[in-house]
Symmetry: C2
Subunit: 322 residues, 2 copies
DNA sequence: CATCAAATTTGAAACGTTTCCAAATTAACT
DNA sequence: AGTTAATTTGGAAACGTTTCAAATTTGATG
C-alpha cells in the first residue's frame, strides 16, 4: 500500500510536509503544495484512516447500542442518526443487544476497547457504573445520572394528550396498558401524565401493567380483557402493543373504535397502507435523532450541556382507532 | 491509558511476553503467565484494539451498504447480519446510501480508507469498477461479476410460484407489477419466472413496469388501473408495492381478494397485526443474511468460492389477499 | 557436571500517521 | 549588502501493538 512516505519521496519533500498538505495545517508554499498534490494524484494515494485513528488516539466512530434494529421505531431512529453523523464525517456502528444486560455490558466493553468517539445508548439496564468516564454517552428514553445525557419525547405530556384524546373520542373509562419499566426509563412518565390528567378531569381510569419486557403480549392482553372488560378506551404504551390489542380484541368480537377507542405511542406507521391506521402519540423521531447526535458532538468536544434531560414535544396523530 | 508496557513492567517481563499471553500465541511458562495475568488484573488493562488494527493492517469491521435501514426488509436483514457477525467478533458499520450512486461511491471510498475487513453491498448502480480488489464484497440481489459474490433469493422460482398461486386462487389474467431494474439486479428474474410460468400454463398475462426506483407509487398504480382494469391478479415486486396497490384499488371500489388477487414479495409482515395480511413470496431473510456473512468470511480468509451466485429457496406464505 | 536440544524470553523493528523543534530559506527592512 | 524577522521545510519521536531473530534458561542425557 502506498504511504505518505512514497508521496514524500516522489514529490521530493519530507513526510511532514505531505501531512501538512493533506490536513491543511501549517504553512505550505503554493509551489510545494502543487508538487505534493501531483504526487498524490500519480500514486493514487489516500490516507490510511486506521493509522490516523491510532496516532490521534481517537476515531470518528459512534456506536448505536439498542435492543433490535428490527424494531421499526429503532430502525427509523437509526436512519436519522446515521444521516446526522455522516454530515460531520462520523461513522455509525450498530450493536443489537437484544435488551439483555450481559450483552449490553459486553458491547460496552468492546466499544471501549475500540475507542469509539461516543455512544448512543438505548439500554434496558443501568449502565451508569459500567461505563468509563472518558467516553461520551447520550441515551434515549433512559435517564440514569448526570454523566449520561438523556433525550426523550415528552412522555408526560404524551400521556396527558392520550388521555384527553380518549375522553374526547368518547371513552368513559380509559385504561393505561403497558409494562412496569425500570425507574430509569423515561417512558414511565407516559403513565404519570395519563393518571394526572385523568384525575384532573375527574375521569375513572384503569392501570394495567406487566414486567418489562412483556414476552407474552397475547396472554397479557387476554388477561386484561378478562379483568377489565368495562374499559372503553386504551392507551397502549407502544404502537405494537396497541396493534396487538386490537387484533386480540377483534377476535373476541370487540370493535375498534366503536366499542373501544385505542391510542398507541410512537407513530411507526410511516406508509399507512395497512389497517387499522392507529391513532397515536407520534414521537418526533427525526428531531430526537438529530438532537441526540448534536448533543453527543458537544460532549465529544467537551462543551458542557445545560440540561440532563432534553424533552421534545409530541403530537397526536389521528388514525382510525378513535 | 495503561498499555502493554505498563503491564510488562509490573510483571517484570518483556512486552513481547505480555503480547503472547494476551493472544495465546507462542510458548509461555505457566508461572510467567500467572505473573502477567495478575498484572493485567491489577492495572485493569485491556488491549487497545485500534493499535492492534493498525499494526495488523486489518480490522474486524464489516460494512453494510444499503439504501435505507428504515425499510423493514433491510432492517430485518441487518439484524441477522449483525448477529452473525458478532458470533465471530466482527463489528457492523451501517451506511445508508439512499440508493444514490454518488453516495454509494463516497461510502465505498471511505470504507477503503478505513480498511474494513469486508463489505455487504445492496447497491443501485454497478460498483464493480469502483471497488478495489483487496476488499472482499458480497452483494445481495445484485450480480455484477466474478469479483463480487452474490446472495439472492430464488427470484425466478419466486416468480413462477407467484404466477401459479395467482392462477390457483382463480385469476384469469394475472399481471406483473414492478420496476425495470438494472441488468445487474437479480430481482429481474422475478419477472422472468412469472412470464415463463404463464407461458408454460398458457395463461394470458400483463407486464407493467416503471423505471427503478419508482418515486410516485400512487401515480404508477393509478396508471396501471386505468390501462389494465381487466387484470384480476397482481404480482407486485415488493410487499410495499402490493400494499400500496391494495390501498389505491380499494379507493376505486376494487375489492381484494374478491375482485383481484394480490401477491407480494419479501414477507415483511413479521407481526401480522395489521391488515390485510399479504399473501406473499417470503424471502428467507435470516438464511440469506447468515450465508452472506459466512461467504464473506471465506473471502476474507482467501478461501475460493465455488459459485458466483447463491440462490436460496423461497416459500409462498398465504395471507388474506388470495 | 558438561553438553546439547528444546523451550522460553528478550528487545528492537515496523506499521502510517501527526506534531514539534530546529534548521533552512525567503522576505522585508536599513 | 547586511541584518532581522517571518515563513517554510526537514526529520525525528511517539502512538500501542505484533513479530522475529537472537539470547537465555531449562531439563534431559551421558
Amino acid at each position: 500500500m502506498t504511504s505518505i512516505k512514497d508521496v514524500a519521496n516522489l514529490a521530493g519533500v519530507a513526510v511532514g510536509t505531505v501531512s501538512r498538505v493533506i490536513n491543511n495545517s501549517g504553512a505550505v508554499k503554493p509551489k510545494t503544495r502543487q508538487k505534493v498534490e501531483a504526487a498524490i494524484q500519480e500514486l493514487n494515494y489516500f490516507p490510511n484512516e486506521v493509522a490516523r485513528n491510532f496516532k490521534m488516539q481517537k476515531s470518528k466512530m459512534v456506536a448505536l447500542l439498542l435492543p433490535s434494529i428490527w424494531n421499526p421505531f429503532f430502525s427509523e431512529l437509526a436512519y436519522y442518526i446515521e444521516d446526522e453523523l455522516d454530515r460531520e464525517g462520523y461513522k455509525l456502528m450498530l450493536c443489537n443487544s437484544g435488551g439483555k444486560p450481559e450483552k449490553e455490558l459486553y458491547y460496552l466493553d468492546m466499544l471501549r476497547q475500540n475507542k469509539v468517539a461516543g455512544i448512543v445508548g438505548i439500554t434496558y439496564n443501568d449502565i451508569e457504573n459500567n461505563v468509563s468516564n472518558d467516553i461520551p454517552i447520550v441515551s434515549i428514553d433512559r435517564h440514569f445520572n448526570k454523566k449520561i445525557t438523556c433525550v426523550t419525547s415528552d412522555n408526560y405530556e404524551g400521556g396527558r394528550l392520550a388521555l384527553r384524546e380518549l375522553v374526547k373520542a368518547g371513552a368513559r373509562k380509559p385504561a393505561f396498558m403497558g409494562s412496569v419499566t425500570s425507574v430509569f426509563s423515561e417512558t414511565m412518565n407516559r403513565r404519570e401524565g395519563f393518571i394526572h390528567e385523568a384525575q384532573a378531569l375527574g375521569v375513572d381510569y384503569v392501570i394495567y401493567e406487566k414486567p418489562d419486557p412483556i414476552v407474552d403480549n397475547q396472554g397479557f392482553i387476554n388477561e386484561f380483557l378478562h379483568n377489565h372488560g368495562d374499559a372503553d378506551g386504551i392507551f397502549a404504551i407502544t404502537d405494537m402493543l396497541a396493534a396487538c390489542y386490537i387484533d386480540q380484541a377483534s377476535k373476541q368480537g370487540i370493535r375498534v373504535p366503536e366499542d373501544v377507542k385505542v391510542i398507541g405511542y410512537d407513530g411507526i406507521q410511516d406508509n399507512p397502507y395497512f389497517h387499522p391506521i392507529l391513532s397515536t402519540v407520534r414521537q418526533p423521531v427525526e428531531e430526537m435523532a438529530r438532537m441526540t447526535i448534536r448533543l453527543l458532538y458537544d460532549k465529544i468536544e467537551g462543551i458542557p450541556l445545560d440540561k440532563q434531560v432534553y424533552r421534545i414535544p409530541v403530537v397526536f396523530r389521528q388514525g382510525e382507532t378513535t
